[in-house]
Symmetry: C2
């Protein structure tokens, strides 16, 4: 095996690992391979390049590069004279992790907050209604307590996402460089 082949093998191994783990980002192995391919290319790639590299349809390349962009794992690049859209991986993996975390959870937090508030409102009214049985009232109060707990939890989660977005998390868990710098 010559050197070029060996380099290729080393890359393939990494790309396959990315493909096998990208489900944590809610993406398919194909999108992972696409990401991996871009990762090892120093120049940005066009959709046609990706079609060429991965042997998949251009339509597929288009949809999955959009999925990668939505999660901010990939960004568009510009190169004068090139009409095709160019894409490259974002090189700050720490920021990519934060973006993922934020995108995935914020939406969920917001949905929960809304429904919980709505249900709590109803239940509070119901609990105050004098015409209901004691039995029901007890059940309502238990539900209110549970929802308050969940509400607090999501409020915590929201602050957690803040801590990532504001990079406060690096105070608690510093990057390697920062440790060396005694930061």
């Amino acid at each position: 095996m010559d050197g070029k082949e060996q380099l290729e093998k080393s890359r393939e191994r990494i790309i396959e690992t990315i493909a096998q783990n990208i489900h944590l980002y809610g993406l398919t192995p194909s999108a992972g391979r696409q990401y991996g391919t871009m990762f090892f290319h120093d120049d940005p790639l066009t959709l046609d390049d990706m079609t060429e590299e991965l042997g998949m349809s251009k339509t597929s390349m288009s949809t999955s590069v959009r999925a990668l962009s939505d999660l901010k794992l990939v960004e568009r690049a510009w190169k004068r004279g090139v009409r095709k859209d160019l894409y490259q991986v974002k090189d700050d993996w720490y920021q990519s992790f934060i973006d993922l975390f934020s995108i995935k959870w914020r939406r969920s937090i917001s949905l929960y907050s809304t429904t919980i508030r709505k249900s709590l409102n109803e239940l509070n009214k119901l609990a105050a209604d004098p015409s209901i049985t004691d039995d029901l009232k007890l059940m309502v109060e238990r539900d209110i307590e549970k929802l308050r707990y969940v509400q607090d939890y999501y409020e915590w989660l929201d602050r957690l996402v803040d801590a990532f977005e504001d990079h406060d998390i690096f105070d608690l868990v510093p990057r390697k460089d920062d440790i060396q710098e005694g930061k």
Copy 2:
């Protein structure tokens, strides 16, 4: 609409929200509904109870309750005289989040670490080989640099998971109760 119905509606709304968001845990909406149902039941449920409540096959209940247990969202309960397996939701959502985080990422971190180490080993040998062209050597060195970066990133992620597991994260982002206590 009477009080009982209203309570039921409130619960259904929450359960549906759980179902719509549980994909963040890599689970299906059905598993989410199962979780939600258990959440509002104060007593632990059997597989037959769940079949009854959700109108799905017992086989399904069995597989998805296992998925919920694997992520530590649900645990087995014991009640004397009851032969059937009993399940209930774990009531500490903060801990559940930490468990999820840990289970999902540790595995990935470990896989990456192994493959990166393997590839770095090969590439370092290759870079030291005097018979390769300058051109190839440059590519090898660029790959080495990239992999070192990724290695550092995963080492950081590993420490991040530690910070969650060790509950250090609550120092940075305190629970609501702890704020009030001035902790």
